[in-house]
Symmetry: C2
Subunit: 342 residues, 2 copies
DNA sequence: TGTTAGCACTCCTGTGAGTTGAGTGCTAAC
DNA sequence: GTTAGCACTCAACTCACAGGAGTGCTAACA
């Protein structure tokens, strides 16, 4: 059977109505609130067809229809009319410049959650294939040396190294030069065991310091990889009865707290980039099973230098996709501006 | 009226029973499950007295009794029998040494949540009245200077300062000496406007760099104050019907996500230290209003050098206080050991 | 005087019947 | 192809009623 123009209109009307009310929608409603000028009986026939084709379904015989996952998918793919969202709070927020990435991200998540009334998450931007940019050893006091490692993307790692023996200024200088000449500009793949051994040999009795520094380098690059994720508005899930029942709510809250679980979502969204960087997962499409009754919309954002992160919104399947996607687009461009201004 | 031995026994029995079942407990139950050998009628008389005195209450006329906040309070203050908790996971966890404070705290929170089946939170230890320990400026590349500030307690703050003019090695050295001689060992109160002005004047054209460094010093000390808090097991609240209903659950989840709100609790628990450092807040006693139907137990822990943090457990009023307090005590001592081993 | 048995009373809880109403599918007429 | 009409379905609500747990009170007992 074919999905002609009229069927599409009806499907759209069903979905729109259901997104608003959350109640199954009947033929009479459609007949009244569309410009099709068709009687409810005709609508009923069409709806029976749509059901057969899998776009909508009936919770029970004598109820109206609700969209199926396939229906939502069709809607998202072909019928959406993105709303342009103006977010006052966001503008204000970005006016007072955030120095700390963490604060910025938390704020963005908060604004998104407040604007959409869904749960929001955001991952810190991560660069891949980091290279060492700069290393600095300094003596804090006779027993402690501070190692600062800066890797590309200005991720900074500090490490305090305890030392037993006295270390002269000269030695410190030597170690600094040694480390910088050999490690700067190197990626983690380039720093191999042979190199490490050679460096340690050159450092002589202070080989252990070199060892610690190299460990810290590894950490600095890795730390960047185990992505930090911030969430906001988790409690918005209680707004939607279909998610708020005990079992589901508990699972979802758990997932949002155990942020690692969200990692797979972030990952997938970063990899599978198609054009605009906005992805919609409906029900089982998301890689997290506790979200099987949810829809998830993710957007990748870029903060320059290939620093990519992901923003995600989790809500019920009857999510206001138009609004959500509009919001995410706005955020994308604001973040872009923000970087350019820097 | 006086609270004689028998009344106490009955009160204890009512509370114990209610903690287990969560159902109002009737006179017959008490008569059967205590060694008092009294008939239900007698128990009823006593229970009427206990109700009049405010220790227990009736949800409705024909129901059993449940403890009032006052009843819980009395129980916690005078009748508890702490259980010694052995936590296998904790031991294992602490065996594999955690290098990162953050990971350690998250793990502790997780273990506590899993062991108690309540929601857990933990604040990072913070030292008060920090002093600057060490400052180091270094040139990452011609346009960027990295400032590293170490304050007491080894809190480290990095700041990248963009510069337009070329800065010579000599100037860098001078700036380093200038900053270190004047700022090291100073607390935030000691660094006043006059001092800042003087430093800027001495730095001449590079006054802006000094300004940025001083801002960073402020941040480093402040960063330590706006406490980091980690949570775990938020979804445990769904185990307890009295907390799981939509409105309450939503509020609680919100509170746990907005970690600042938990700050007041942490603060209070740190200040009001009476001996063991364990505090019990029943209902309204806690400074957070979304927890009015909860009980909160907090414990301060010390990681040496006056680094104090707080662990908290949030659950229903019918919390297994004995177990929770036992657990917290165990954690306290384990963390203590951990520090000593260092 | 303290304890207990007995009894009427309260009130939550569960159940089953009956009603309502929204919505459907089908048929026949337009 | 569209529509009016009608019988049918089924969740949701209401209501009455029974059951049961628990109480308070009274009177009797040790």
């Amino acid at each position: 059977m074919e999905l002609d123009e009229r069927k599409k209109k009806i499907l759209k009307a069903v979905i729109r109505n259901y997104l608003e009310t959350g109640e199954p929608v009947g033929s009479r409603t459609i007949s009244k609130y569309t410009d099709l000028n068709l009687s409810s009986a005709t609508i009923r026939n069409e709806m029976a067809d749509l059901e057969e084709m899998g776009y909508i379904l009936q919770p029970h015989t004598s109820a109206g229809r609700i969209p199926s996952d396939q229906g939502y998918r069709f809607y998202v793919d072909t019928m959406m009319e993105e709303k342009d969202r103006e977010m006052v709070e966001l503008k204000e927020m970005l006016l007072e410049r955030q120095d700390k990435m963490e604060t910025l991200l938390k704020q963005v998540a908060k604004v998104v959650a407040q604007n959409t009334q869904y749960a929001a998450m955001i991952s810190a931007p991560s660069t891949h294939r980091n290279k060492v940019k700069f290393i600095q050893l300094s003596r804090v006091n006779p027993e402690q040396i501070l190692a600062v490692i800066v890797v590309e993307g200005n991720v900074i790692k500090n490490n305090i190294i305890p030392v037993t023996e006295e270390i002269s200024d000269e030695t410190m200088l030597k170690l600094n030069i040694l480390l910088n000449t050999h490690l700067n500009g190197r990626s983690i793949e380039e720093i191999n065991l042979g190199m490490i051994a050679a460096l340690k040999a050159q450092a002589g009795v202070h080989g252990n310091i070199v060892g610690e520094v190299i460990d810290a380098v590894g950490d600095a690059i890795k730390a960047d990889e185990d992505l930090e994720i911030y969430t906001s508005g988790t409690n918005n899930i209680f707004r939607y009865p279909e998610l708020a029942d005990n079992g589901k709510a508990s699972e979802l809250v758990g997932t949002f707290e155990e942020k690692q679980q969200l990692g797979s979502l972030i990952q997938e969204s970063l990899e599978d980039e198609a054009g605009t960087g906005i992805q919609v997962y409906i029900g089982d499409e998301a890689p997290i099973k506790s979200m099987k009754d949810c829809s998830v919309v993710t957007a990748t954002y870029e903060l320059g230098e290939g620093m990519k992160g992901t923003i995600g919104i989790v809500g019920p399947k009857r999510m206001d996709y138009d609004k959500v996607i509009g919001t995410l687009r706005t955020i994308q461009s604001k973040l872009d501006e923000l970087y350019k201004k820097d």
